[in-house]
Amino acid sequence: MKAEALENSAAMQGPWSISLPTVKRFKIKAGRGDLHWGDRLFFWLMSTAAVGICGLLGLILAFLVYSALPTITQFGWAFLVEKSWDPVNGEFGALAFVFGTVVSSLLALLVATPLSVGIALFLNELAPRRVAKGIGFLIEMLAAIPSVVYGLWGIFVLAPWLRTTVQPFLGDWFGFLPLFQGPPYGVGLMTSGIILAIMVIPTISSLSKEVFRAIPRANREAALALGATRWETMRLSVLKSSKTGIFGAVILGLGRALGETMAVTMVIGNRNDISSSLFAPAQTMASIIANEYAEATTSLHLSALAEVGLALFAVTFLINGLARLLIWRMKGRA
């Protein structure tokens, strides 16, 4: 490790810190000025693409802010804490959608996190390599299924099953909890949460797997040599030192769940209300935009939808940034 660090620092010092004139001249010679014209063209094309993508991000942000300006000026922060959403009377408050987004996403994480970490442990620590490859591939394929297909499956299979079997059962046995009260609709927060869970499992499990893979074999042998069982080895050497990494993976999954639109719109029931029951239909920030944008007629309505989009953009941007930061920090340490 020490040798590596030395090498790295030597490399870091390379052309930057050495100021001998000969070296400088060499650097200029190898600079862009002397490139072949084809290389120069390629360089400019590629840099335009790279800079352009950042510019695009800025343009989207600018568009959202511009479109949302009428509601931002009219409602201010109240927009985010008011519940009533009445396009006809020009009242706009996004709280119900914020609530629907947060609850369905948290429910998804609650279901997906233990499953995903379990899958990652199984694939990395227990399964024979060939089996792990096969199953790993299938799980990554889950991420390739179009979300509208998840939505269809949710409508035709998951929601009826929850309505006829799971929700009545929960209502009978755990109905004393506010979470499981009210009529079982099928479509609603619970269905969206489960669909979202399935959709974020590939994200969380493949990232957790990367985190586990970064742990050196020596750490596992330390536990094994002390007489740890397989499970104890995983707990001592693998799980305990991957907390930050798993957290990062979960946050990245959250980023995906928050913004998911199609599948959620199809199964959440689309009711602009806040209910304590997971059986109740709701609405998310993404689903309200998908549902109403085409039909919005007043400019204030459009502006309100744009502001919902702006809020969603800001939240997912921050969440993803945070997750990347955590995972980078984790990789740097391993």
Binding site: N219, L226, L236, K240
Partner: protein, 258 residues
């Protein structure tokens, strides 16, 4: 011959073979390890010495595609016998590795007592007592007694290695295996570990793999020389290093190959 080597061996190894997939890493090795002595395993890189020692606590088989066959009798019981749980064996035979490997998420204290906790010991008073005893045995107590709850990975390399020794000693194993324990350490840290080995052999039988012949000569009572998976020569260290029976041993210790 010294009296100590006349005692009943604590480990009897009979026709031990080990493989990595198709490659035959340890070939039909038989030898006896005397109690309360230091046995050094020497040989050039790739001679199977590490694989051999990893067979003694059944750690070798944890590597995918690895296999072992033969008999290893620990005080008369075959650890490769039918129905023997390798997990139980590894609690009796401690091991220290090439690179210090304290558990990164655990404090110094938690590292030392991790073996006890795995064995189900929960009483705080016992844990505290054993932690101090083991750290003293590993000659680390004075350096860490004021920061027992600091992370183990914050120590220097040599200290980390002594922490790993303390962790192995905490469960009071009759045998301690050391797989090139000083190869990642500087000369001062190495000297400390060697001193420690000489001190520890009063209480525990030590088998140490080393690629450093001077180290084997300094600290071991008996030396086994491995070459290409075979045991070439085994005997009193003084004999092996001064009047080896085999020409191959002589050529290795005089530096003509390897």
């Amino acid at each position: 011959m010294e009296a100590s080597t006349q005692q009943d061996p604590i480990l009897r190894i009979r026709s031990l073979n080990a493989w990595f997939g198709e490659s035959h890493a340890v070939k039909d090795v038989s030898l006896d390890i005397s109690p309360n002595a230091v046995t050094a395993i020497i040989g050039p890189s790739g001679c199977g010495k590490s694989t051999f020692i990893r067979c003694l606590n059944r750690l070798h088989e944890e590597v995918p595609s690895a296999g072992a066959a033969g008999e290893v009798l620990l005080s008369g019981m075959n650890i490769y016998g039918e129905g023997v749980d390798p997990v139980g064996i590894r609690r009796k035979i401690g091991m220290v590795f090439q690179k210090p490997n304290p558990f990164p998420a655990l404090s110094i204290f938690d590292n030392v007592v991790s073996g006890l906790r795995l064995g189900g010991v929960r009483r705080r008073s016992i844990l505290v007592e054993v932690a101090e005893r083991s750290l003293r045995q590993a000659a680390l107590w004075d350096e860490v007694k004021d920061k027992l709850h600091a992370p183990g990975t914050g120590l220097s390399g040599g200290q980390q290695q002594r922490l790993c020794i303390a962790r192995a000693l905490a469960v009071d194993p009759p045998v301690l295996l050391m797989d090139e324990p000083t190869s990642a350490l500087d000369p001062i840290a190495t000297a400390k570990i060697e001193e420690l080995v000489l001190e520890l052999k009063k209480q525990v039988t030590i088998v140490i793999v080393t690629h450093n012949m001077q180290q084997a000569a300094r600290i071991s009572d008996r030396t086994a020389f491995f070459l290409m998976g075979e045991l070439v020569e085994y005997g009193e260290t003084s004999t092996v290093f001064t009047v080896p029976k085999e020409e191959r041993t002589e050529r290795y210790i005089t530096g003509k190959f390897g």
